[in-house]
Symmetry: C2
Subunit: 168 residues, 2 copies
Amino acid sequence: MTTQVSPGTGSAPEPPPGGPRWLDAEEQRAWRAWLYSSQLLNDRLDRELTRATGIPHAYYEILVQLSETPERQMRMSELADRCLSSRSRLSHAVSRLEERGWVRRQVCAEDGRGLLAVLTDEGFAALEAAAPIHVEGVRTHLFDQLTPEQVAAMRDLGETLLRHLDPS
Amino acid sequence: MTTQVSPGTGSAPEPPPGGPRWLDAEEQRAWRAWLYSSQLLNDRLDRELTRATGIPHAYYEILVQLSETPERQMRMSELADRCLSSRSRLSHAVSRLEERGWVRRQVCAEDGRGLLAVLTDEGFAALEAAAPIHVEGVRTHLFDQLTPEQVAAMRDLGETLLRHLDPS
DNA sequence: GTAGCGTAGTTGAGCGCTTGACTATTCCGC
DNA sequence: GCGGAATAGTCAAGCGCTCAACTACGCTAC
């Protein structure tokens, strides 16, 4: 959780020139609060969604991305990128969604290497059933807890980090 | 990722009385930024730590928690709680750390049911080697990107959410 | 003391993810 | 057009997590 080996460990290993830039007490608190809360929130939302609908959050995201596209279909690679997923992971996930009849693969006319993932009507129906559960969780566990100023700060923070982490 | 089924889907399913409290555009942006950034940051830190040291972040946390205790040992249940881990998950993880020689189990004198997880010298050494890598990642990908005001906002946000999610 | 219940921790099956190797197709330069 | 590099996607092995069932011990009351 923390990044300090142990309080008062004295001398420490030194990877970057000048030694590790240890966190001070304030940074530790901020880091832990962020880490714990993000972990708990994600766990909670995923568990509630999965329990209520049988759809894990990662699969839900795939369905959402497909549903937001005009033709309800997308190239596998682009879908992977949008879901912050590796190609391999997405390939496995789409296989399982295919077994449920929610998505099907279609060969891509313009590129013989490519495939399209297509959201089926059953998949869209499953998404429609799951969405209210999920949005209610986000409300309850996130937005209901925050002031408008905190929501603004959250967005600012997230977008700042995204510029560094995902400069796409 | 998002919580809306599809823009302009019109009527939607209604689980809570009054219909789902959908997110408005601002909330969507905030939610997505938070979700993506936390996911990318966690993935990145975990990957860098694992590549450089062979220790996944979840295992690192176990070692840290043990190291911060005076005797470098802790009851399994308490360790699970502190690591935001289920008993089962922790049990599996400690088994693997035991195989590496970094932790060992010890019967608990006061409670015949209980076990203590004890950090070995090898485990402490592994932690000492990994800590600088991890702290450098947190610096680079988090604190170096943020102003002091943003750090304060992050802590405030995290602690607010924790009061709701983990009122322990 | 023993029945019944709660707590501590483990185990095994099954699922999902990661990694790295693999096939197939397209793109590029000559 | 043809050879080599890049791109799209898949697959298998191995690891870690979840869930539910299980063992073992302690606690309380009768």
